[in-house]
Symmetry: C2
Subunit: 154 residues, 2 copies
Amino acid sequence: MRRTTPFVVALCLSATALLAQDLTEEQDRALTARQAHMGLYGFYLTPLGQMAQDRIPYDADVAAAAANNLAAMAAIDQSAFWVEGTDSSLERSRARAEIWTDPDGYLEVKQGMADATEALALVAGDGLDALKAAFGPVGQSCSACHQPYRAPAN
Amino acid sequence: MRRTTPFVVALCLSATALLAQDLTEEQDRALTARQAHMGLYGFYLTPLGQMAQDRIPYDADVAAAAANNLAAMAAIDQSAFWVEGTDSSLERSRARAEIWTDPDGYLEVKQGMADATEALALVAGDGLDALKAAFGPVGQSCSACHQPYRAPAN
């Protein structure tokens, strides 16, 4: 497997360059950055969700760190992510045009996630019951954005 | 080009799966997350560096937002990124073993970046001279971590 890796990596770099061909550098960077940001939401949400659903044991330190990090990421100004011309008409994007045509609505749900994750961060280390109670609104804040602003998977 | 895209995407997903074969899910997720986090550093550093080097015009709002976001990301607890077995012996990783054998040193340079980016965030919107003065220590904080803790590119 090790011997095929350089070839596979080179092929993927070429493919990435090919897929990026239609985009400006600014569009490409914004798309990559927001997908990285969303990926980090997933990274921090995973242990919190697994604890909330009793799939892994509750760990106060892990829960508190993940919730603090999630809240810090959710509080970040994300306006630089939404460069014009990077909506779901592109293969790489699931961002509905409504993000651009309804910016106030988008900002409202974005603030909803910031509020819900901040509330979770305040209690995530205080026991499983507290985590479970505060995790629900975080999950709802995901849906509140994905439903209106994320297109179905290709 | 559009017609080749699904094939290329499928190939890359297979390649990614192949490259991830040797790792546990936890290791794979940690590697992906920390590379996303580093990529976001780059996303926010780029306009700041371009302004500091007079390559793009100074824009107080853009500078302040990028610097605030960079400082928020640098302040994040990154301990979940450094899962054992994800050092530069892997193709996907440039993390030197010293991250694990010298955790205090790593935490010190990590704090150095948090401090330098916080100082930058405090002044990035106050004019180009202020930005330039505060950007230097941020660049130095990158090197202060990369030199001891990042292996050369493969």
